[in-house]
């Protein structure tokens, strides 16, 4: 099942290759078909995951496949989904469809290559989330780079080459060190093994965890991106074509946070705890820095890009609170960010196609010109700032609550970030959509068309569903999250055990 | 190793090194070539000392004889170094005489030492070597020896089958080795020579073609 899911887009890409460049419509429709198929399959997969994983013991995986791949090295073809990866797989499937439906009109030439790269990218990302073996994980992790590199470099904006190379090299440096750490970990036991579920059981001694943890954490932190390693992100986001930005913000960044949840924290809990304060500090810095920089951006896309830095800071803050509330908050927040930021990029892409500008100053009074579009934008902005009832609220609330259990000061600072987020997004909204109509070009902009609307619908649905029924998703992820939380030896390190247990009870309700 | 052996070796080695150095540093190509001859002869004598008279003869005959003659021929053919007229002929002659004298002494000394040593123990040594060689070869392709003892014996036999320093290797032994133990490298070496030959032809061919074209032009 999972193999099929991973191979579907890849197969689609291969089949697309045989079509000629000239058949634009046929190319698009065929790609759409493949992504639609993948999307539907991923939704079904997640529904099954909810069934299997809710209330199940820890490390229960749906659709588990486990076959030896290279027996001499202990490499296994181990795939499986749980409440966390299943959710991300569904997000990937949905976003793949959204990209092809909503963000291919702007691609003027080389549509075939574009769609092929997009489909290959989708395959690779699905692979990352399905993998339960470090070798397989690493292959997919790195394989993501190639299509993304082409997407940014070939179909991006003016500074696309710079952005593409920067993105590639930044990520590569991090992940190569991860490769060494990965091998180091795999060769610790009696027999080499790359199977995560086996590695969970043979933990390294606390003092030997530090360096491998740092190597893994560096790779993931670059991908997230955590504050000092974020500089590739604004460039890549801004220069990437709309579909690239959606994939990048929607799921690529989640590979980093997912890596923390799945690998870095449970494999090296002592080291994670040891370095925890650093990560919390960086996360809070990221929240505030991202928000402040976003506040002064004249470019809408750049603004959204910096808002990503801030949002991902929340996710990291949640994860490194090391309590169930924070972890769950981080988990759900990364999905929320994927949905709402993906939607923002999609919408920004739509007006860029019409106006060929992303400068806030070039717009104004869009509300009267494009009423439907403006309402959708408002919905997305509200979801992003965390209005209750929409997706952003749950995550931010849980993260802040979780963080406050660890440190009131940190939570307060992060809370300032929430307010700032509301400020820069709403201020941007005000400048772009209200006020007098800026120019004749704006006046000539047509409202959102039906195909564009179709691409937005799945995201809108997700925003509302995630906002209204978060417990479904949280419950599915709970076994794993609870297990991850138990791995971290908080009690040994002067934590607050009573509050911890209280929390656990609180969440159980 | 006797003291005589050591002295002979050290002197010969010194001569060889000095000759090599002079070969590199002398300005006249003919001198260089002659120093190379000296160097080769000194090495040949070292081979004699080590009990490899055949190699020594080959060295002198092929390198010092044939190849160096070719070298000198080419140097003279190209008229190199004629411009470098070295004025000081007398000092050169003195050096030449001294070197030649030294060489003669060494040749004699080396020969005498070697010869006397050989005469003393040669027949027995050869017989022992042959036996050991046979034993070693019998053990070679067979199944792996079962016990460590047998292994050690095999090792010893193999070691004995190797010609020891200070014990002359006959031409016969070399011939047998070439066509049994070293048959493959011996054959493959012919391939190597073939490559070199083809290569020489390929390099020379443009020149040959040009010349034949020229000849045709002249005759027509």
């Amino acid at each position: 099942m999972l193999t099929l899911l991973i191979c579907l887009p890849l197969l689609g890409a291969l089949l697309l290759l045989r079509r000629s460049e000239a058949e634009r419509e046929a190319l698009r429709l065929e790609a759409l078909l493949w992504t639609l198929l993948t999307g539907v399959l991923s939704i079904f997969a997640y529904l099954h995951v909810i069934d299997v994983c809710t209330g199940a013991p820890a490390n229960t995986f749906a659709y588990e496949v486990n076959a030896p791949l290279i027996p001499r090295f202990g490499v296994t073809y181990h795939l499986g989904l749980d409440g966390i990866s299943g959710l991300l797989v569904m997000l990937t499937g949905v976003l793949g469809f959204v990209c092809v439906q909503g963000a291919t009109a702007g691609v003027k030439d080389g549509l075939k290559g574009f769609l092929v790269a997009l489909l290959v990218l989708e395959s690779a990302i699905l692979g990352v989330f399905c993998a339960l073996d470090l070798f397989v994980f690493y292959i997919f992790w790195e394989a993501v780079l190639i299509p993304m590199y082409f997407l940014i470099g070939c179909w991006g904006g003016d500074r696309r080459i710079y952005a593409a190379v920067k993105f590639f090299l930044y990520t590569l440096v991090g992940s190569l060190l991860m490769l060494v750490a990965l091998l180091f970990v795999a060769y610790q036991g009696q027999q080499p093994t790359f199977d995560l579920t086996v590695l969970y059981r043979q933990r390294l001694a606390p003092d030997r965890q530090l360096l491998p943890f740092l190597a893994f954490a560096l790779a993931f932190a670059i991908k997230v991106p955590l504050m000092p390693f974020h500089t590739w992100l604004p460039d890549a986001h801004t220069e990437a074509p709309t579909a690239g930005s959606i994939m990048l913000a929607g799921v690529l960044l989640k590979m980093g946070t997912y890596g923390f949840i799945r690998i870095a924290i449970p494999l090296f809990p002592d080291a994670a705890l040891h370095f925890g304060p650093w990560f919390v500090t960086l996360a809070v810095c990221g929240i505030l820095y991202g928000a402040l920089v976003a506040l002064v951006q004249p470019d809408v896309k750049k603004l959204v890009a910096y808002s990503s830095v801030a949002h991902l800071g929340f996710v990291m803050l949640g994860l490194f609170s090391f309590n169930l509330l924070g972890l769950q908050g981080g988990m759900i927040q990364q999905v929320n960010h994927g949905v709402s930021t993906g939607a923002l990029f999609l919408l920004v892409g739509l007006i860029y196609e019409r106006r060929h500008s992303r400068q806030i100053a070039d717009f104004g009074g869009l509300f009267t010109q494009m009423p439907l579009y403006s309402r959708l934008f408002l919905l997305t902005v509200l979801a992003s700032v965390g209005l209750p009832g929409l997706c952003g609220f749950v995550g931010e609330y849980l993260v802040l609550f979780g963080a406050s259990q660890r440190s009131m000061a940190v939570a307060a600072l992060a809370g300032v970030g929430v307010i700032l987020a509301a400020a820069y997004l709403l201020w941007m909204f005000q400048r772009v959509f209200y006020g007098p109509v800026a120019s004749d070009e704006v006046r000539a902009m047509p409202d959102i068309t039906r195909p564009e609307l179709l691409s937005f619908v799945p995201l809108a649905v997700l925003m509302v569903v995630l906002g209204l029924f978060p417990s479904v998703f949280l419950k599915a992820a709970e076994p794993t999250m609870q297990w991850v939380q138990q791995q971290v030896p908080l009690t040994a390190a002067a934590a607050v055990p009573e509050t911890g247990s209280k929390l656990r009870r609180g969440v159980a309700h | 190793m006797t003291t005589g052996f050591a002295i002979c070796f050290l002197v010969l080695a010194a001569v060889a090194l000095a000759a090599a150095a002079k070969m590199i540093f002398s300005h006249h190509p003919v001198h260089s070539a002659l120093y190379l001859v000296l160097n080769l002869c000194a090495s040949a004598l070292i081979y004699v000392l080590l009990g490899a008279p055949f190699i020594a003869i080959v060295q002198v005959a092929v390198y010092a004889g044939a190849i160096m003659v070719l070298f000198l021929f080419i140097i003279m053919y190209l008229n190199l170094g004629l411009a470098q007229d070295v004025a000081d002929a007398r000092s050169r002659r003195a050096t030449a005489l001294a070197t030649a004298g030294l060489l003669a002494v060494l040749l004699l000394a080396g020969g005498v030492v070697r010869w006397s040593g050989d005469l003393a123990g040669r027949p027995q040594q050869v017989a022992a070597g042959q036996q050991a060689l046979a034993a070693g070869q019998a053990g070679l392709p067979g199944a792996p020896a079962a016990t460590p003892d047998a292994q050690a014996a095999l090792q010893a036999a193999r070691a004995a089958a190797q010609p020891q320093p200070g014990q002359a290797v006959t031409v016969e032994q070399i011939g047998v080795a070439l066509f049994s133990r070293y048959a493959l490298p011996f054959e493959v070496a012919s391939l190597l020579i073939l490559v070199a030959m083809i290569g020489a032809l390929v390099i020379a061919r443009p020149q040959l073609q040009r010349e034949s074209a020229l000849r045709k032009e002249v005759s027509s």
């Binding site: 080389g110 | 193999r158 443009p206």
Partner: protein, 485 residues
Amino acid sequence: MDFRPPDMNLWAALPTAVVGATALVTLLLSVLRPAGAARRSISFTLFGLALAAVGCLPAAIFRPGPSFQGMLVLDPAAVLLSLLLLGATAVCVLLASRYLVHDGVDAAEAAVLLTLGCAGMLFMVSAGNLLMVFIGLETMSVALYILAGLAGARDRTSHEAALKYLLLGAFATGFLVYGMAFVYGATGSLDLREIGARIAGGGAAPGFLAVGLALLLIGLGFKVALVPFHMWAPDVYEGAPTTVAAYMAVGVKVAAFMALLRVFNVAAGGAAASWQAAVAWLAVLTMLVGNLVALAQTSLKRLLAYSSIAHAGYLAVGLAAGGAAGAQAVLFYSVAYGFMTLGAFVVLLALERADDKPQLDDLRGLRRRHPLLAAALATFMFALAGIPPLSGFLGKWLLISAAVQAGQVPLAVAAVLCSAIAAFYYLRIVVYSYMREPADDASPVTLAAETRQALAACLIGTLLCSFPFGLWLLSAAGWAAGALR
């Protein structure tokens, strides 16, 4: 003195014999019937190489032990690399029939020299004795000295390349032979298995052995262009005809690394303490210098030359790691490297114009001028950079895991950092061919039939070495490494 007939296991000599015979027959045919010799000798040579590849199969099945008194060891590792070398030679012969002939070289000559060089390489990879290493190396080198100078009529740098290669090669051979003499002095044998046994039994003089191994390392290091013995490589690669440069980059390196593997990893494995650190340092130095200098290159040929130097460094990591894991890594990486480097050179040839050497700028907008060529080039570059799931990644993964397994984590870290540097210039090639617009006067690229076939062969080879197909090769390499004795 009794004469024992040599132990002649002809299965073991079959591939090399076929290759040698092919060369001789081609030579004779082209002399006896000059009319139409060019086409015929090319096709006959290709046929002969294919026959030799088939000739490897009995060896893979019957597993003849050391033959010819231990001179020739056609073990699985040798079969694996022989097949690669035969394939590389076939590709080069194909290319030579198009490009070298263009330079005014006789097709039969080129084919014969390439085939004889191949015979030398085959002897090197299956050598069981230092003598065979030497003779194989010389046969290969002499053929390449000539080949490097073949384009001399058109391009004077070709002569310079040939002369430089000859002089430095002869120098390196001196080191090699001197080293062999020392090893013989220390262990009393030239037979690799026997040397191993002596070392294991403590019967080797450690000082002499260390000196001998050091000299051998220098001699073979020259051939594979390990820093600091790499000075010749960029000039020679640039001056030599591109077909020959490709042959050097792949054939020589693979053959010489197999010899290094046999001498150091297998025979001198018991004395690892005396050479492991040296090889590790050479590896780090080679990766660092090769990659850093490659960053500054604008001539594609020089860039590939430095890249191949850097790859010698990666291979040396496997050598330094030692053991079966290291051997497996070297074997796998050799095959993967062979295909991807050969492929890169084929693309280079396709871009080459009569008057000048291709520069980075000539790649501009290749995506529009010839999409297929651009895609192939990108594949080879990503493979060389070691990005999964391509072949280079599996190779690097094996190398690094061998180093980690051997407890040499700093070496592994150095290797990955260097490959991060390397990614930069490989990416630049992709940037030029995909993301920059073509120059106004850029002509469309057309591929000759031979080039297309060669390109297809390299591409298929690279993909077969990539994940997931590469896993078969990976286990084959593991099996072959296990059988190395």
